[in-house]
Symmetry: C2
Subunit: 306 residues, 2 copies
């Protein structure tokens, strides 16, 4: 594979910005989105909802922050410290405020006077669910329909690698078998749904971006056990397709961390399918062009744009 040079992503990014679909900011990977972009995203999400209608999932919508105490029950700071987002605030009085402003006005690091707030930014849409699910699951387990903004500190020029973006998920909590069945079912459904929109989707075994040298083993193990699959499609870079959806088995990691048990008392297994809403939308623009009004009817119609 040839070296794509210093900015392999600039071409698509510039076109998206010029077309007004993405509104750039001074921070890499942080964008606003236009009404046209959002209409495509909403159409895509409605398709996901229809695909999941038979699941009779519980709908839950969590905001983009969740309790720090819950975060600390996961291994996220061990495995992905470089991606985390910790929220800090000011709790001082008048005197401390004057000191803070002095630092601020001097252009120094005024944030050293802040303290950690009770919340963290959410790293994946299913994280805020687990602490609410502690205890014994009903017979047959649960299926939960989630959507949330998630934060990952990985500044990039790739428009498909945003620092803050939305995930739509269907999460299964239940036995090991129920979790694995859910993962496999949704991998099929996700691939069919995205292929039907004309996206050249491929399914690949994948791993999470475990941190550092110590993360190599975790990556290898995850791949060996084929716990994670991604649905990939070329977006900004033809050489390196982008994961627009992923389906994962977490084994009993969250069950143990949050004391979630199956009806017969075992630690629950969990699995999820996640659709990266911005990435799916960008894949549609990259594949079909930047003007949805000119997309083929077979694409416009299922998205509710016809």
């Amino acid at each position: 594979m040839c070296d794509p040079g210093p900015d392999p992503y600039g071409a698509l990014r510039s076109r998206l910005v010029d077309a007004g679909l993405l509104i750039p900011s001074s921070v890499r990977g942080v964008y606003g989105r236009s009404g046209v972009f959002e209409a495509v995203t909403e159409g895509l999400e409605a398709l996901v909802t229809r695909a999941g209608a038979d699941q009779r999932a519980e709908v839950m919508r969590f905001p983009p922050v969740f309790p720090r105490a819950a975060y600390e029950k996961t291994n996220h700071a061990h495995n992905f410290p470089d991606l985390l987002g910790s929220v800090h605030t000011f709790t001082g009085g008048r005197r401390e405020h004057l000191a803070l402003l002095e630092t601020y006005e001097a252009g120094e690091d005024w944030t050293r006077d802040l303290v950690p707030a009770e919340v963290m930014l959410i790293p994946a849409a299913c994280y805020p669910l687990y602490p609410t699910a502690s205890g014994v699951l009903p017979e047959g387990g649960r299926v939960v329909d989630l959507r949330s903004y998630v934060f990952r500190h990985e500044p990039s020029d790739d428009p498909a690698r945003m620092q803050i973006f939305r995930q739509r998920e269907y999460v299964r909590l239940g036995t090991a078998e129920e979790a694995a069945t859910h993962r496999d079912l949704w991998l099929e459904r996700g691939q069919a749904l995205l292929s039907d929109l004309g996206l050249p989707v491929e399914r690949v075994v994948a791993n999470d971006p475990f941190f550092g040298r110590g993360g190599r083993l975790a990556k290898a193990t995850q791949r060996e056990q084929t716990l994670k699959y991604e649905l990939v499609v070329p977006v900004a870079n033809a050489e390196k397709p982008t994961a627009i959806s992923s389906a994962n088995c977490h084994l009993d990691a969250f069950g143990l961390a949050f004391d979630i048990r199956t009806a017969n008392g075992e630690p629950a297994h969990t699995a999820c399918i996640g659709f990266g809403l911005e990435r799916c939308t960008l894949a549609l623009f990259a594949t079909h062009g930047l003007d949805p009004e000119r997309w083929a009817l077979e694409v416009r119609e299922p998205l509710g744009l016809a």
Copy 2:
């Protein structure tokens, strides 16, 4: 007014949680929301969209974080330091990570090893817009339709005082007259829209919660100039109605801070109406009961729930 005691908000909060409409977390003011809650919110938002159809507003959707550099051009840390949310992350290598984990495992403050990320949580839905609007406005200015999660660090037992919630806004950028006209127009429209849903809305002159003793003058000035109005309705506490919408003139504060100019070169004035989506939804539940299926047809129909 009698002292309502230590937890005047508990009754409604408990009822909302028992009905499954709000999903509590271990942090005060951070909740998940059910599908029923969201359906009401979506119906309310669709009404706001219809009310603004004649505005031909530009739709922009910003994520819940925006550039720290833009934040620092505002006076937010001067005026509302107690409400801010600063995002911090880890940028060290393997050695620093091991040190962080040591602190983490010891139950000490592991966040002291973090560094400020390039972003802050958004304090109001219009903040991320202004840095993208620098320069000269078109003749007649602009109207922008926004929705965003916003963060305010004010832990509370009042279910209507969340730390993280969504605002839907229509923002005007233009001359002083255009801004004032927009504010007044939307105050009327907002009051009509919410009253038509059976909410006993009152319009009151208001002020922002400027910090500390030094903020008293700013509050008084803002009220004297009647820059801010709120639409209030009893939600969790009959004695203290809750602002579910507010309409504000910012004068040329943002125009100056972000070098936004009118077509004739003056610093732009800005004004906005903001609907607190969770608060509007909670007001409907508090007023009409917790089961939307039992609401009067005159309420269900405009919300698209009939």
